[in-house]
């Protein structure tokens, strides 16, 4: 890992009139990291990015880049480059002029600019396309041009605002890998914004999960997936089954929860909440569909769940079973397909089993919208 330039948000508040778009954000982003802000649309991700790039002054708190407070420093003086959600390529300039715009500003000669443009075009695998206009490229190609244009400015921090959201699925998956490769090659800090947890999980070193202006959890992808610290993080990242209830007993790092409709179940308490959950508190327990498995019907105990099967579906690599769940939401179970025979259980009661370490309990809270 190269040293790179880190970014810190200290007690960052951003208000639009009475509306609080970002509430007391504290984030430390290590130099050279690929860092993602993950959250649903409208949660304040773009707002944070605009505060980092300098288009927006925080209402309170500080943005530090490489340890320097950026207060009062305009976007053209910050060592950041932003890739806009709609790319914002200059429509009247040719590709090579677009890419080297930052050099033109500094008065570089056309020959220098062409040379640099050719290098960058090679890097983004668009050799010789410099004389086209942005409108003459495909979506994925434009995407890469926007990246090249930002990199040409040699920023210490590259900011990307949902750059893949306009691409089709295939291209999106391809670009994930490509972006990650580019980041590792140039070794600068990437701050990436997305509402797509798949993108965040596959590319990022660290992820901040955001909900309505608040940062719920900052951790690496694995931790966020396996050990979410809030109900929102648990329900937003990946698919999850929720069981609502009250804490009946706390046993070290485990809690016995009296669920509304599945009896008393035992669960691990998420790391961030250990010591904070007390008997009688409202709690939520989450189990991933792939962490549930079939058990002999009628098995009893604190890690068995019995429910009626609504319907089933075959997805190729897994069989999905949808059962009556808690609070109107279906309980989903994914059974890996090993070529075993699989009969239809619709309408029958089935019993499921889980490993207590794969269940996680957090204080009751807001769930992510479907």
């Amino acid at each position: 890992m190269s040293a790179g330039v880190g970014v810190d948000l200290e007690n960052l508040w951003i208000r639009f009139g009475d509306f609080v778009a970002v509430r007391d954000a504290n984030v430390h982003i290590k130099g050279g990291d690929f860092f993602s802000f993950l959250g649903p649309s409208g949660c304040g991700k773009t707002t944070i990015l605009r505060a980092v790039s300098g288009f927006l002054e925080p209402s309170e708190g500080n943005v530090l880049i490489g340890g320097n407070n950026m207060k009062g420093i305009g976007p053209n003086k910050r060592p950041t480059a932003l890739i806009f959600q709609n790319l914002a390529l200059f429509p009247l300039m040719k590709i090579w002029e677009n890419i080297t715009f930052s050099m033109e500003i500094k008065g570089a000669s056309a020959r220098e600019r062409r040379k640099r443009a050719d290098e960058l075009l090679d890097m983004i695998a668009l050799p010789g396309q410099g004389d086209k206009l942005p409108s003459e490229l495909s979506g994925g190609q434009r995407q890469r041009v926007a990246i090249a244009r930002a990199l040409c400015a040699e920023p210490d921090v590259l900011l990307l605002d949902e750059p893949l959201s306009a691409l089709d699925l295939k291209l999106r998956q391809h670009m994930r890998t490509e972006l990650r490769e580019i980041q590792q090659r140039v070794g600068i800090t990437f701050i990436y914004i997305t509402h797509d947890q798949g993108e965040a999980l596959t590319m990022s070193d660290d992820i901040a999960v955001m909900r309505a202006g608040v940062i719920d959890q900052i951790a690496d992808g694995k931790t966020i997936y396996n050990d979410p610290s809030t109900a929102f993080a648990a329900s937003f990242v990946g698919e999850n089954n929720v069981f609502r209830g009250k804490v009946l007993d706390v046993r070290g790092d485990q809690a016995l929860i009296r669920t509304n409709r599945s009896g008393d179940l035992l669960s691990r308490i998420s790391t961030a909440n250990q010591g904070k959950m007390n008997v009688g508190d409202d709690a939520m327990m989450f189990i991933r569909p792939e962490a549930l498995s079939l058990a002999p019907t009628g098995s009893q105990g604190d890690h068995f769940v019995t429910a009626k099967v609504n319907h089933e579906e075959f997805e190729g690599n897994v069989f999905n079973i949808f059962m009556e769940g808690d609070g109107g939401k279906e309980l989903k179970v994914s059974i890996p397909n090993h070529g075993q025979s699989f009969e239809d259980h619709s309408g029958q009661d089935m019993t499921l089993e889980y490993d207590v370490n794969n269940a996680v309990a957090v204080p009751a809270g807001e769930l992510a919208a479907e």
Binding site: N76, A88, P91, F101, I105, E136
Partner: protein, 429 residues
């Protein structure tokens, strides 16, 4: 089927009437520029002449008016386009709640009569001039200055409308992207926003120039010692118009068509270049793109070339062609005709006199003069041109030159030759 046909035919008829209404006056006026009579008329066609163009270019006042109009036009373009651009940019920046109010205020000058703008410009700057204690020869009371300022008050609003339309399609993220890449605000404006606005700025400039060039209402109060073309024309028409004015009209029409065709050909060409680029390979893009020739598949370009060749031919032939012989012939013919008529009259008078004498001799002077030839018109002959003509000739019979002059020379009526009794007289003869 038949109704279909009827509809189609009536559409064509409608179009014909519509275009005749739109273009008829222009075509007729243009044609009169090439006819030799000194009052602009198309019939009777006497002699093809290019002399009215020469006449036009010898008219100091018209030339001076054109020059002043151009000066005012350029001044107005610069002032209006910059004010319009500033206004348009302001509209996108202003607090949204104020936007509607601001828009109304800035559009208002278009709705105010030009006369009012002219008067108020004059009064306002006169006050300021006096407040500053300046004399009547200061810049603030200069006709050029006042006209440019006065016209710009409302032409700037037109420009703003044109510019706002384009600005609304501008993505502000482009400016932000430029700033983000290290550009100053001035650089972002110059390198990103301005190129984007350029087409609209050019349109606004053309619009401003044309609006300035044709303006009369406002200018009439402000021109001072710099009468523009419209002012000069208006003053000239008061003393009767000559085909030299038609020549000017013809040139303006020709120039308009010329520029419209250039524009059209250019648009078409750009489209074809874009198409060629689409099909071009990477190598071709880097080098020279094979662009189709100027004329191929471009009707506007062909029309343009035809027009240019036509004008060149006409100009060249005008240099060598002289209508003198024809004019002399026509005049000679008219003289002969007049003489013939006078002769007839004299004969008739002589005959009448003889009859009178004979009647007097017979009835002892009891009867009056014989009544004039009766007229069938219900209007008692008031509108009958022949009657007028006859009366005119009756009175001036002794003056041989009068009729001759009237037939061939100027007429002060502002209504064209429709009410020119001599013309009608000629037709009938």
């Amino acid at each position: 089927m038949t109704t279909d046909k009827i509809i189609r035919v009536s559409i064509w008829i409608y179009l014909g009437i519509f275009f005749a209404y739109l273009l008829g006056p222009l075509i007729i006026m243009s044609a009169t520029a090439f006819n030799s009579p000194s009052f602009p008329r198309m019939t009777p066609w006497e002699c093809l002449t290019f002399n009215w163009f020469g006449e036009l270019f010898r008219d100091e006042r018209i030339l001076n008016g054109i020059w002043n109009s151009i000066l005012v036009g350029f001044g107005t373009v610069i002032l209006s386009v910059s004010m319009g651009l500033a206004g348009a940019l302001m509209l996108t920046q202003i607090w949204p709640k104020l936007r509607a109010t601001y828009y109304t205020i800035i559009i208002a000058p278009i709705l105010i009569p030009g006369v009012v703008l002219g008067i108020s410009t004059l009064v306002f700057w006169d006050r300021i001039n006096r407040m500053l204690g300046l004399g009547a020869d200061s810049v603030l009371s200069n006709g050029l200055f006042l006209t440019i300022i006065g016209q710009s008050t409302f032409i700037a609003s037109y420009c703003m409308l044109v510019l706002v339309a384009r600005l609304q399609r501008y993505d502000i993220a482009l400016t932000e992207a430029a700033l983000d890449l290290g550009a100053t605000h001035a650089q972002a404006f110059r390198k990103v926003l301005m190129p984007f606005m350029m087409p609209a700025i050019l349109s606004a400039a053309v619009l401003a120039f044309l609006a300035s060039f044709e303006n009369y209402n406002t200018t009439t109060f402000t021109f001072g010692e710099y009468p523009t073309l419209t002012i000069e024309l208006a003053q000239k028409v008061r003393y009767g118009i000559t085909p030299a004015i038609s020549a000017l009209a013809f040139m303006i029409v020709a120039l308009t068509v010329f520029f419209a065709l250039i524009n059209e050909a250019n648009i078409k060409r750009k489209k074809m270049i874009a198409e060629a680029r689409k099909d071009a390979t990477v190598g071709e893009l880097a080098g020279k793109i094979e662009v189709p020739g100027l004329i191929s598949r471009n009707p506007a370009a062909i029309a343009l070339i035809v027009l240019v060749i036509g004008v060149a031919t006409v100009t060249a032939s005008a240099m060598t062609y002289s209508p003198d012989q024809c004019i002399a012939d026509v005049q000679e013919q008219k003289r002969l005709e007049t003489e013939k008529r006078i002769q007839e009259l004299r004969d008739r008078r002589a005959k009448e006199a003889a009859e009178k004498a004979a009647a007097e001799g017979a009835e002892g002077g009891a009867t009056q003069t014989a009544p004039k030839p009766s007229n069938n018109s219900g209007f008692g002959g008031v509108f009958a041109p022949n009657t007028l003509q006859n009366e005119g000739t009756d009175d001036g019979a002794s003056d041989e030159g009068a009729d001759d002059g009237a037939a061939g020379s100027s007429n002060n009526s502002g209504f064209g030759n429709v009410f020119d009794p001599n013309a009608l007289g000629n037709d009938n003869n």
